[in-house]
Assembly symmetry: C2
Homo-oligomer: 357 residues x 2
């Protein structure tokens, strides 16, 4: 097998950490001896051992010595202390691995080449097999956290052709069709968290879960609700499902509802104003690396205006609601120009999707 | 050259009749002897000679005899009297043409196989070289007139992503960009007429002309304005350009403005109500085979609801106008579902286009 083959396998392993690594990156590693894989590992839990540690342990558990082996790892091994686990570069040196092949430098300034430097200093060969594009896609949340100190944000909404989000005459009727709903649900798989406004909870009582293939192996996204006055019903599905909901509110922590929600397993965060920037900063401190914002109109407009989003996904359903519909821009006081470079379009059933990034 | 090659050349000739044939189809013909083209013709003017007549005349003008030749004609030759020109099948028989190769049966029930029958009866070989798909596209207006007794109707509109057609704070600012405007202008080349509401004339004073390549060889579409109270300024560009504007109004023909407009070269039609069905029926009697409806919102909504359209083209511009914008569905009282089968999407500059048919 070629270097690219081993790196591809390491990358497949990295993906297994999807939504399990908190604010950490997803990383995979394989240990190779005599052109055969003797150990596999990935970063499986925030605060838990890194991919390199797991791959070495896997090899040793199977009775192999990793001395003089090669390690393929999708992201540069870490090299600093004062964190939850000891630096991987030290372990690599200690175990006598002779070469480390790396998919991408760690953009975290605490590493960013220093890991490679440490290995070189200890006479371990290093090489980059460029897996940056794949890493940037998989770890978009982690990378955005490092670069902008807020999670990766995707704004998603489904509109009629005349820009309406809600049929005022047919409460609760979905704007999209089944194909669109399935496609939109699939998105949730790629995000740490799903954010909605309180009206969405009150009107629709959604689960905010991923319900596609392999859902049982999957760490569900954390539901996030913006709820100024803590109107969320304690019987809401998102509370009963216990996917660690986060509720942002202006209501004091001394209120009875605040306490009841906390007791029910919610993380309730009180802020003087529910502004996108403050919410996103808070989410990064709660180890959220990516947020899928699912509306409704008020939440959508506020985040759209904030410009703090990375991606905008708009589904259009082939109908006009006319005066029967509530406009997506009901809460948008001013014109907003999209000046992003990349616009992709795709048909989804009878709907079509715009992806702007 | 093969039969398909000759038919292709006949079809190229047919296209030269674009917007010149009134409610007649565009038809092209070539006369072939010893595998060489000796005559070319197309239908160039409503009420003028047909393609077959012109092709025979072209051959004879060049000194050829058409006896024992083959004729390739894109549409079945006509065979009935009581129209502006004598039937082509008679001429074909009289001139001793030995074989006629036809691109498509004429859907007009007065012909529809009867032309072929007449030729066969006179021992002229006939054959179909299937050019139906191309004909249906080129002659969509004519075919729609025959089938539905109204012109082919395309609804065109440019929206912001939130379904707005007009920036209330920046009067006259275009919703689309230059690429979109160019693309939309190109559409006009394919239509006999362009229809707008009076507010579009008053607000924008448009020319409603095709301004692309080869515009000087091109028969401009007739401008059509829906103007209940004859508010159209006599100085409007569409009046000065003298492309035979048609104005639909509820104002009596005895009014001073009615007379002034008629004197200025407009066809003014008075109706008790400007309903899509009545307007389109009237247009078919005025030899209009296709209409591009360019809005604004009120006209768009009325024709959308009427379901009398064949194609819907919506451009989306990458911006949200929010409360600054007038919604396309401001005049749409009820939900309208698009149940058409075919939806195409395309990027046009930074905009994207939906084509529903």
């Amino acid at each position: 097998m070629s270097k690219i083959d081993f790196m591809r396998i390491a990358f497949q392993l990295a993906k297994k950490g999807l939504n399990k690594t908190g604010s950490n990156p997803m990383v995979g590693a394989v240990v190779v001896k005599n052109n055969k894989i003797i150990g596999r590992g990935f970063h499986a839990e925030f605060g838990g051992p890194h991919a390199e540690v797991n791959a070495i342990k896997d090899a040793e558990d199977k009775g192999f010595s990793v001395a003089n082996s090669k390690m393929f790892v999708t992201l540069e091994p870490c090299c600093y202390f004062k964190k939850k686990t000891p630096p991987c570069t030290q372990l690599i040196v200690k175990k006598g691995i002779k070469e480390v092949i790396i998919g991408m430098k760690d953009p975290n300034t605490k590493v960013n080449g220093k890991g490679i430097g440490f290995l070189k200093k200890h006479r371990i060969k290093t090489q980059i097999v460029d897996y940056r594009a794949q890493n940037e896609k998989l770890n978009k949340g982690f990378i955005n956290l490092i670069r902008n100190r807020i999670p990766y944000v995707t704004l998603k909404i489904c509109l009629t052709m005349d820009g309406k989000i809600y049929n005022l005459k047919k409460n609760g009727e979905s704007i999209g069709d089944l194909f669109q709903l399935e496609h939109a649900n699939l998105l949730r798989k790629e995000y740490n968290s799903v954010l909605v406004g309180i009206n969405t909870i009150i009107n629709d009582d959604p689960q905010l879960t991923y319900r596609g293939k392999e859902k049982i192996f999957f760490e569900q996204p954390r539901p996030i609700v913006l709820d100024s006055h803590l109107r969320i019903p304690l019987k809401s599905k998102i509370i009963n499902l216990k996917n660690s909901p986060i509720i942002f509110t202006k209501t004091s922590s001394s209120s009875r509802k605040f306490k009841a929600l906390t007791q029910a397993g919610c993380k309730v965060v009180t802020m003087s104003a529910l502004e996108p920037q403050r919410i996103l900063r808070k989410l990064s401190s709660l180890n959220i690396q990516s947020v899928l914002i699912e509306g409704g109109g008020k939440v959508f407009s506020n985040f759209l205006k904030s410009k703090l989003w990375n991606e905008l996904i708009v589904y259009y359903s082939p109908k006009f609601l006319g005066k029967d519909g509530l406009s997506v821009s009901h809460y948008l006081d001013n014109e907003f120009l999209i000046d992003n470079k990349e616009i992709k379009i795709k048909k989804i059933g009878k709907c079509f999707m715009l992806k702007i990034s």
